[in-house]
Symmetry: C2
Subunit: 371 residues, 2 copies
Amino acid sequence: MRALFAEWVAQSGFGLTVDALGSMWVRRPGLEDHLPPVVIGSHLDTQARGGRFDGILGVLAGLEVLRSLEDAGYKTRRPIEVVNWTNEEGARFSPPMLASLVFSGGMAPDAAEDRRDPAGIRFGDALDAIGARGTVSPLAKPVDACFELHIEQGPALDAAKVPVGIVTGGFAMSGRRLRITGRTAHVGPTPMMHRSNALVGAAAAALAVDELGWRYAPEQGKSTAARLDLRPNLPGIISDEADLWVDYRHPDPARLADMDADLEAALTDCARRTRTRIEIAERWGFGGFSFDADLVSLLKDTAQALSIPAVEMLSQAGHDAYHVAKVAPAVMIFTPCIGGITHNEAENIDRDMTLPGIRLLMEAVVARANR
Amino acid sequence: MRALFAEWVAQSGFGLTVDALGSMWVRRPGLEDHLPPVVIGSHLDTQARGGRFDGILGVLAGLEVLRSLEDAGYKTRRPIEVVNWTNEEGARFSPPMLASLVFSGGMAPDAAEDRRDPAGIRFGDALDAIGARGTVSPLAKPVDACFELHIEQGPALDAAKVPVGIVTGGFAMSGRRLRITGRTAHVGPTPMMHRSNALVGAAAAALAVDELGWRYAPEQGKSTAARLDLRPNLPGIISDEADLWVDYRHPDPARLADMDADLEAALTDCARRTRTRIEIAERWGFGGFSFDADLVSLLKDTAQALSIPAVEMLSQAGHDAYHVAKVAPAVMIFTPCIGGITHNEAENIDRDMTLPGIRLLMEAVVARANR
């Protein structure tokens, strides 16, 4: 992906620099090239079993904006840069959105390089192994504005047959790693009343998490029991340790706090019923914020001027733009994905439903770059 | 373990042969050495997170019987052999009780060598790597009688302060590998009603399995959700595939059949509630049989003659003697394990509560070897 993208950038004649965390920066100079650039950014990496458009569409749309301006011989006042952020998905190295997190000051570059995959390989070493590490600082530089175009990853735009979502902010999200502790024992002779099976505790917690999502579903709340690691996880022995990663989201941060409280109460009950210990071992979260109001207005006005049907909406997934928004004005454009299917190899888009969003991206970027 | 045992055998002056699956056979000749031997067998391997007595006690008790006869200068009519069966636990290579399974004709030696561990390493290659493969055939040879002494792995003997359990047969056991199928999707934007999470389906199945054990617990039934593998099992994506290994046991084979039926009905309900597909991908079982009546009588009579308190009981775990019983008269002796704690590093025994069982083993083996 990275090599192909670099090849396309070179063919288009743009300069490419790679920063120390592997993020790829393409630059089209401005007439006043010392001014902070307008940035178009998303990611080329994908999920295990993910599709071909999540992230990729936004990076390629950015490249196409630069090419179109080049084809038209059109100069902007400010430079425009397109960035492919490294490791947005977090499929191998957690956390997701790692490079944009570092860019925004949320994690030191050294700490990012020290993240390890399940096999114990360091993120920095993995970058070196594929020759993906550049020399430019991965920390924030002055940015005039940042735009991210992305497939919606939900069914709303596709269902309504509206080509553009103007993203005004993000759902509030809570992540938790639960640690469930039981006691190893033989699966055969151990009487039921002597058992404390971490898998059973984790199963109760996973169902409680799922139920939480259904309870808040009428308000667009949702929840996921996403990942479960058990030890020793063998057929002949009861497991004594489990880690369960859970994720829940709500458009309203206050209601997310209610979900937090509901979950904690439910976990106490799960632990009691399954005679295991259940603790919250790690907490994280993102979202629950608004994108830059000026950029939202710019997108609304531009869509209206171009007669592009658009709706305002919140993003439910995390995106690199969430982190960038902490250090620069940022906004997102959503385009439809068919049936809302994403993080799935069947993920797909319709070209005609996608072009209006890219047109809007170009016009808004140009307007901002000429500011 | 193997090297230490071989050293002790050599120090005691007994011959040691290793068969092609790595089982170690120690032989003390008889006066009529052409007669089929009396065999004392158990295993030296242990579980991940297992203890120091499960299996090991039975092998060392066998060696001690040979040493005691040697010390006393006592000759038996038949030869006596002690066997350390390879891979009883199945902690790395499934199925458990692999070498005794092959011995009894339940699996071809080639098929056993082709079993692979989770890293894809062949069992035969793993044997070669530690120099554990011998040349003798691993298939059954004529055996006069087989005795296995083992810790009970349950709390009954310890609670009753009775030193010996004479094992008349085995609980009936059913094993199932369930395959749960969902659909990958993003953990964020995917509406609850569009989700089909294999982890949630597996969690519902695991709780149903646990509930099954509680329902039959008053009749000594029990059940275990033992192992769960999920794919892709990552924080940002809903898993679409899960394998759940379950195990349930009952003293009465007819009631085990009722448990089979209850489980199938419960799984249909779990699949419906979690909107996943749940299939039984693999079935296996063991137990539900009686040990050799003559050997049971011999143990009862001998215990009575020696004034050793003993109770008759069923084994709830699987043991190598289960397989050997298909090709030769076999029986087991249980000794207490403290608190019934087993498959746990805290597994422990009391020496004074163990010696009567070993005494019984020796006397019964000698009686049979002189038959």
